[in-house]
Symmetry: C2
Subunit: 240 residues, 2 copies
C-alpha cells in the first residue's frame, strides 16, 4: 500500500539526516519539496517524480503530495529541520485522515545552531517564531514576555525580514525587562550548511543588520555564560 | 589530533541517528555512555574502549570522557535525544576549554513523540523538565504557569517519578487555569524504541498511573484538536 511520509531532513546537507529519513526518500516514488531542499537530497531522488515550488508554496506542495498519494504513489514531502515544528506535518495532518501518513522527525535548526555555539540551550526553553504571517504580533509578543519572565532559554526562528525590520528589536526589549544586557546571545546563519556563520554576542550588543530569515537566535537564561567564545547554559540551576 | 564528540543519538535505536553521529562514533577510539545507550549502538562500538555507568553517573562519565581525550584518544560521549537539551553537552562544555569539543545534534524525544502522535507541536512551544533534582520546584512551576498563560504547546520531560508521584498533577493544575479539560494531551512511553506506547487523551482525562520517567507528555495549545486519534496543532493561529 502506498504511504505519505512527512520527512524532516535536518538543517540541510546530508550529514544531519537520519537513516529513517533517507530510507523514506529511497522508498518513495515521488518527492515533494521547496526547490533548495530537493537539491540537498542529491542523487537520492534520481529517477523519482519530483514536484518542487518556491517559497510560500507550502499549501500547494501539501495538496500535490496528497494527490500523488491518492494516485497510488508512495510519496515523501520534505521539510528542513523537524517536520513537526513550523514544518509540513501540520498541514498534511489537516488535509488527510492520517491513516496513510507517517511523520519522520529530524534535527531542528535550533539544536544544530546550539551545537555550533556550545551548549546554550541545555535547560528548559521556549521556541518562538517571529513570523507574523499566520500568528498575530500581539500573541508573539506575549510569548516573548512570558518566556523571558519565566527565565526560559529562548530560541527564535524567522527573526527578521525586510517586511518587518524592527520587530526583532521590539521583541527583545521585552526580554531586557527581565535580563541584563550581558545576557549571552548566539546568532547562527545557515546552521548546518556550508558557509555557516556563528556569532557569540550579548543582548546589549546585537547588530540587527546581520540578522535575516535564515538566521536562528538563541538567548541565554539568567545563568548562561560565555567561555572561550562558546555559550554555556549550566545543566543544574543555581539560585542566585 | 584527538577530539571529544558529544553525540546526540536520537531517542534510541539506530534509525533515528544521523549520519554525522554514526561517523563520530565510528571515528572514535573510545565511547562513553549510560549502559543501555551503548547497547543501542550495537556493532558500531566493536573493538573500541567502552566506559559505561548506570543512572545518575553523568558527571563521572563526563570526567572519564575528558580523561580519555587527555590520553590522546578520540572519544564520543553519547546522550539520547539531542546532546544539547538536558544532555551531556553542558557538563562537557563546563569541564573543558571547548577547543577540542564538537557537539553533534540529534532528534530529541519530544519530536519523536510528536511524530508518533501526529503534529501536536507545530507552533511555538515550551520544553520543561519536571525533574527537581537540579532545579527548584518553584522555578519549574513558574515556567509551567507562564508557558500555559502564553498559550505555548508544552512538552514535558521526566514527568513523574516514584520520589515525586504528585508533582505532575500539581503542575498540570496550573495549565488548567488557562486551558479547558478537553485540551489534547499526548503521552508517549519509550518513544522511537521497540514497544513504544502512544496514547491520545485530554487534560481532564489523564491516567497518572501510566506515566513514569520514560514518558514524554505533549500538551496542546488552545487551537489543538484531535482527529482520527491523532493530535493536530494548526500551523496558522486563528484568533478565537
Amino acid at each position: 500500500m502506498s504511504k505519505l511520509y512527512v520527512v524532516g531532513i535536518g538543517p540541510g546537507g546530508k550529514e544531519n539526516m537520519t537513516f529513517k529519513a533517507v530510507e523514506a526518500i529511497k522508498n518513495s516514488d515521488a518527492v515533494v519539496g521547496y526547490t533548495p531542499y530537493i537539491e540537498y537530497l542529491g542523487d537520492w531522488v534520481d529517477g523519482k517524480e519530483i514536484f518542487s515550488t518556491g517559497m510560500r508554496g507550502e499549501i500547494e506542495r501539501c495538496k500535490k503530495a496528497v494527490e500523488l498519494l491518492k494516485e497510488g504513489k508512495t510519496t515523501s514531502i520534505v521539510s528542513t529541520g523537524d517536520a513537526g515544528l513550523y514544518g509540513m506535518a501540520g498541514p498534511i495532518m489537516e488535509l488527510t485522515n492520517g491513516v496513510d501518513v507517517e511523520v519522520i522527525p529530524g534535527v531542528t535548526a535550533a539544536f544544530s545552531a546550539a551545537a555550533e555555539l556550545g551548549s546554550p540551550i541545555m535547560h528548559d526553553y521556549a521556541s518562538i517564531s517571529l513570523s507574523d504571517l499566520m500568528t498575530p504580533w500581539e500573541v508573539i509578543l506575549k510569548r516573548m514576555d512570558k518566556a523571558a519572565e519565566a527565565d526560559f532559554v529562548i530560541t527564535l526562528y524567522n527573526p527578521r525580514s525586510k517586511g518587518r525590520p524592527d520587530h526583532l528589536e521590539e521583541a527583545l526589549k521585552l526580554v531586557s525587562k527581565y535580563r541584563n544586557s550581558e545576557t549571552p546571545v548566539g546568532i547562527v546563519r545557515d546552521s548546518g550548511r556550508p558557509g555557516t556563520k556563528v556569532k557569540v554576542t550579548t543582548l546589549g550588543d546585537i547588530d540587527y543588520e546581520e540578522i535575516d530569515m535564515l538566521t536562528v537566535l538563541i538567548i541565554g537564561n539568567s545563568n548562561t555564560y560565555i567561555k572561550n567564545n562558546k555559550i554555556i547554559t549550566p545543566r543544574g540551576y543555581n539560585i542566585k
